[in-house]
Symmetry: C2
Subunit: 357 residues, 2 copies
DNA sequence: CTGTTAGCGCATTCAT
DNA sequence: ATGAATGCGCTAACAG
């Protein structure tokens, strides 16, 4: 029923081994023979049996890209870029060699993250790219470290993109970390320079590296300006929530309740910032005249927001593409396996000097 | 080095077949035996060899979800929903049975679409979900039909989500098509009811089903109101472009150049509509006082646009989830294998009666 | 309910 | 440069 390598060999009047060799292209084969084989492949409409091939070779052409939220362009942009570098260029998929770049959506769930890694391990994936912030739970971190070690042992290349390196693990081939701290700090410095002193912060989910680093950057800037109250005050000015619009909306109302005299709100990311803007508008506040708002990431829609959103640009596409190349071994890892990706302040119209002050 | 089924069997003092049976769970095994085996699995930290398993069973647990643009939430929402239904619930991935739901980004390229299908065919994928509009090129359609037929022959279940059925093909197990025509028609009817007569249309890429259907709906409404000029006039009022912000911006400027007295602009989707809004603002036009704008899809950010965007809601999450269930065989296909998903008009603030009559 | 046997389709020695 | 032989790790009959 289904055509096999042997069928192709018979039709091309060569041995199965030869067919395998032309398909994989990593062995000298006479030009005439190769042509004959390829013709037979086309005529029979033969497609390599991946499982059989992977079993015999003990490696597969699967490359997994894990994302926390596939509906969020933050991840989509990185994943798409990585996939372009991995799957991109070559032929029709008829022959061997091409990688199958696939993205797996963990939904931010640590269990699903581990499950996907196991599933990829089961498939003997050639590489795995982990994107976005990590959960900072000791148990989960330990489990991840162990799992990644096993994957690496089995020959799977591990690349981190937008995620800080795993301390004490040599399983990771390369880690591209965003400078979330620096970006967060510069963003808040920008607000302070404008004259803001009472700044609320809508943070991301707790126990996430991204959340913590951005918040640390913010507080560093606040402290440097002598605006850092006691712990209780800091808590009052901070509300945590998921990275979505709803969270921004709700958290902003909560901040306003706690501190009606806020002159600026910094959001964990652009999506949250948009929710914050909506809440402020619904309260009759004008942006930036009555209150300033800032986001993070500089997603494509942020420049079109009204007013255009002040934010911090992360080179998501470039980072994703680089991660893809690293996963393919097409690019040498950075020194020490770790690179920090700069974050650039984009001052736009949603921030301005406070009314009075 | 790497632990195999035989190792587990030895440690649990049973035969390899028994281990296979408890792992796959589709065969009666004594409770005490099962426990012994599972303990051995844990102790040895055994992970099933996917390729070997797939080779022997002639099926794999891979399920592919193809999307045109992974950075677009339109696809992300559907893909995430589908993935939830497919990968969702069960264990740690330690044992067999769980599906590996992965999303593949074609970038809208027909070649990559076919390549991905071949790669999934090579992996003997259990199912494939194709999301979003299809390219309407005869050659590509024929190639797709043939490829899908082969996949179906090999036992891969094919589900379409947000894509019209393939005429004359019985390879597709189920097709969930959005009512793009109806949605487009109702949206334009809404504008006409408000009093608009000169309406520009920023269409999607040519030769795409989604583009064509939405445009047909628009023109049906125009014709019904006697607003449909000759072919040349219709062309003048329509500009095609990709489904992105930039296209909306540029196309809007072009439309304004051709027809400065336009009172409304309908965009191919919400992202394009946002670009259109930006262009209009840059031209000093107020929305909706000077000109109305409408989108399509009702993506999450649309309600937060300023003004809130009038659009057509598509139940992307529900449709994606249903496609996932259909791909898993957890839900019976609709009658005839085809279901049309309703599109609901969401009249918001970006549309209003035109300035003058 | 459990063990035994026989491939699944291909990559890879080793020959030639 | 090509062919023949072996085994990758597992599942699926088939016994028992």
């Amino acid at each position: 029923m289904t055509v096999t390598l042997a069928d192709v060999a018979a039709r091309a009047r060569v041995s199965p081994a030869t067919v395998s060799r032309v398909l994989n292209g990593n062995y000298p084969v006479a030009v005439s023979t190769r042509e004959r084989v390829l013709r037979a492949v086309d005529e029979l409409d033969y497609v390599l049996n991946g499982p059989a091939s992977s079993l015999a070779a003990a490696t597969s052409d699967l490359v997994g890209i894990l994302v926390n939220d596939i509906a969020d362009p933050f991840f989509g942009i990185m994943a798409g870029a990585a996939q372009t570098e991995i799957g991109g260029q070559e032929g029709t998929g008829r022959a061997g060699g091409e990688k199958l770049a696939v993205v797996c959506n963990t939904g931010g769930s640590p269990e699903r993250e581990l499950t996907y890694l196991t599933l990829l391990q089961r498939q003997r994936a050639a590489a795995v790219v982990l994107t976005g912030g990590a959960l900072e739970d000791p148990g989960h971190t330990a489990a991840m470290t162990a799992k990644l070690a096993r994957l690496a042992d089995a020959g799977t290349r591990i690349v981190l993109c937008g995620r800080p390196p795993l301390p004490g693990s040599d399983a990771v081939a390369a880690a591209l970390a965003f400078d979330n701290r620096g970006g967060g700090r510069r963003l808040t410095e920008h607000l302070i320079t404008l004259g803001h002193r009472r700044i609320g912060y809508v943070a991301g989910p707790v126990e996430r590296t991204t959340t913590r680093h951005r918040l640390e950057g913010h507080r560093t800037a606040m402290a440097a300006a002598g605006l850092c109250g006691d712990a209780a005050e800091r808590e009052r000015l901070t509300v945590h929530g998921p990275y979505d619009r709803r969270s921004g909306y709700d958290a902003t109302l909560e901040l306003l309740r706690r501190k009606p005299d806020l002159t600026a709100i910094v959001a964990a990311n652009d999506t949250v910032a948009l929710g914050a803007c909506a809440a402020l508008r619904d309260q009759g506040l004008r942006i930036p005249q009555d209150i300033s708002v800032a986001g993070f990431d500089d997603l494509p829609f942020s420049v079109d927001a009204v007013p255009a959103l002040t934010t911090v640009r992360l080179p998501l596409f470039a980072a994703g593409a680089r991660a893809g190349r690293l996963a393919m071994g097409k690019e040498a890892p950075p020194p020490g396996g770790i690179a920090t990706i700069a974050a650039e302040l984009m001052a736009r119209d949603s921030t301005a000097p406070p009314r009075e002050g």
